[in-house]
């Protein structure tokens, strides 16, 4: 940077009372603009009037003025001093200062107006929230009323219907009563549905997490359908796989609701043509139901959850979807295979046993657990796994959960070869904290392999003892999910 010559930053002129330049006394600042005899007003038009107004022998500073010269603009300050027959004009170049001030000032003002805008928006928001609160309150009141004033008489009707049907009455009346009871129950379901939906919307739907027996549930549903769809030509077949565990944790009421809804939809949208029906039957588990296991982040020991996500062939399932999103069934003990079938719908909880991650879907036909061979040192195994991932021999892509990543990193560095994250995560690896999100990636990007880790007691055929007994020892294993080529 060239040192600035102080002379270049100012110029002092003597002018007469008409503004004509008499003398340039010092300084070089835009000197080419000031020739003797020229009018100062050419360059400094704003001095017109100011010079006349200047009191005698009183120094005046005029700041923040702008002049144009040599094809650019300069910010200047002027020191003015008026004597009886001339005026001394000292012009100081302040361009840099004013540029800076300009910048600051603009920011101050922008901030000011932003603040104002924000305050206004806040006001509006406040108003809207109030309105929403009132509307919500009204809705709640209405629903409470629904609950009491509609449900109660309905229950009374149903109760008396039952009582009357136990009396000695003609078969004809009995039949009438049966129809009355069915319609009454249907109405009750609708009322309950409306209430559930509003609870879901309000986030107030609490899902139970109690032991339930799937066999009983299937029986119950089967019972419910014994009479209800007589006039359709749909045959419902209920089958509960023998291997369904007895103790499953979840919300039986909701589960029944869901299955019932699905069955109702199946009946409603039943395709008479058998070929098509078969097609639909085969298609549904794929499109309609995806299961996901995700982990409970708070638990020290990860607990597997089963979450159902249903998009029912693009049909509007209304309340059902909302409920499903919040439904979690916890499977305890022997988590193997759960199969509930009925015409039109299949539920698969295929044979896997994983906790951090897992995907159970027809889209992932091959699931290969990679288990550390007995006797193989853990560090060595991790090293091998790492090298396997990095070998580049296979053109696979991996999603790897953070837990595994951490494990590998730690074990490998304990092995005296510290690994940086950068080194570790290569081009063919995506690291994900959330196991269930890893699944999503897996699906979206068609990533070939997911590596996940389990430390829960698990049961797998390959892990059984010699005599086929279940082994419940805690083992760490990796689950590899592969898309079929």
């Amino acid at each position: 940077m060239k040192p600035t010559n102080i002379d270049n930053l100012h110029i002092e002129l003597i002018i007469d009372l008409n503004g004509d330049i008499l003398k340039v006394s010092s300084g070089q600042f835009i000197k080419n603009q000031f020739a003797i005899g020229d009018s100062i007003y050419t360059i400094c038009p704003f001095l017109l009037g100011t010079i006349e107004g200047l009191p005698l022998r009183e120094p005046y500073l005029v700041e923040g003025m702008f002049i144009n010269a040599n094809d650019r603009e300069y910010g200047i300050d002027l020191d003015l001093f008026k004597a009886t027959d001339n005026v001394t004009v000292l012009i100081n170049d302040r361009t840099n200062v004013y540029n800076f001030v300009n910048h600051l000032n603009q920011q101050r003002n922008d901030l000011f107006f932003l603040k104002r805008e924000l305050a206004q928006k806040n006001k509006e928001l406040h108003r809207l929230r109030k309105a929403a609160d009132i509307a919500n309150e009204q809705k709640s009141r209405f629903l409470a009323m629904m609950s009491h004033e509609v449900r109660n008489p309905l229950n009374v009707i149903l109760g008396y219907t039952e009582l009357i049907s136990k009396e000695e009455i003609s078969l004809k009346v009995k039949d009438y009563l049966k129809n009355l009871a069915i319609s009454g129950r249907n109405l009750k379901v609708i009322v309950d549905d409306i209430l559930d939906l509003s609870r879901v919307e309000a986030g107030k739907l609490q899902l139970a997490n109690d032991p339930m027996n799937l066999h009983h549930i299937i029986d119950q549903i089967e019972n419910n359908y014994k009479t209800s769809h007589k006039d359709t030509d749909v045959v419902l077949v209920f089958e509960a796989d023998k291997t369904i565990p007895n103790s499953i944790f979840g919300d039986d009421v909701r589960l029944i609701q869901i299955i019932t809804n699905l069955i109702n939809n199946s009946i409603k949208f039943n395709v008479p043509d058998t070929d098509q029906a078969d097609e639909l039957l085969n298609m549904q588990p794929l499109n309609a139901i995806d299961y996901m296991l995700s982990l409970n982040e708070e638990a020290v020991m990860p607990i597997p959850y089963l979450e159902l996500h249903i998009g029912f062939l693009g049909r509007d399932t209304g309340a059902l979807d909302s409920i499903l999103q919040r439904l979690k069934i916890r499977i305890k003990d022997d988590r193997r295979c759960v199969r509930i079938s009925e015409k039109g719908i299949k539920f698969h909880f295929p044979e896997v046993d994983i906790n951090h991650i897992g995907i159970v879907s027809d889209r992932h036909p091959s699931i290969t657990p990679v288990i550390r061979p007995k006797g193989l040192d853990k560090h060595l195994y991790h090293r091998q796994l790492f090298e396997f991932i990095h070998s580049g021999k296979q053109n696979k892509q991996f999603v790897i959960t953070s837990i595994i990543a951490e494990l590998l990193r730690r074990d490998l560095s304990e092995n005296r070869k510290p690994l940086s994250r950068h080194e570790f995560i290569g081009r063919n690896i995506i690291e994900e904290t959330d196991a269930s999100y890893a699944l999503v990636i897996h699906r979206l990007n068609a990533v070939k392999t997911i590596l996940a880790e389990s430390q829960l007691p698990f049961t797998l055929r390959s892990n059984r003892g010699e005599n086929g007994q279940k082994s419940k020892k805690r083992t760490s294993f990796f689950l590899q999910l592969e898309e079929e080529e």
Partner: protein, 162 residues
Amino acid sequence: MIAKKVLLVGSFGVGKTSLVRRFVLNEFSEDYISTIGVRVSSKVVELDENEIKLMIWDVAGTSKDEKVPKAYFLGASAAMYVFDLSREETYINLSEDLEAIKQLSGLENIVVVGNKKDLLSEEALQELKSTFAVPVNLITSAKENANVEDAFLLLSKQALSK
């Protein structure tokens, strides 16, 4: 031709520059580019068969407790005090501010202008007008070119009479 120096003062962002631009160039912009120091422009106006060259000093807006430098008023014949009808803080101390400017400038009369009339409904405007402690000469809108010419004519008149 007589040259007269006049000033526009008032809080920042009230529309001083916009008024001058509208008057001199008949232009308006929604952008807010805050004025630093002083921007001087001029326009010749005709008043009672006199041609006057108005030297209009558009002074940087002030914020609370900030004063216009006294030197700016040197040789000034008239001044316009502009406030923003949509921003209470720009006119809440109207009478004190006017008094301070009179003191500083030595001018007896200041043209008082409430700008941005387009941002207010007619009713709101009427209601507001009745609350002003000081007579407001003109209600303008630089944006919609309302009363801008009149405001500067009044300013010229005052400048000429001095």
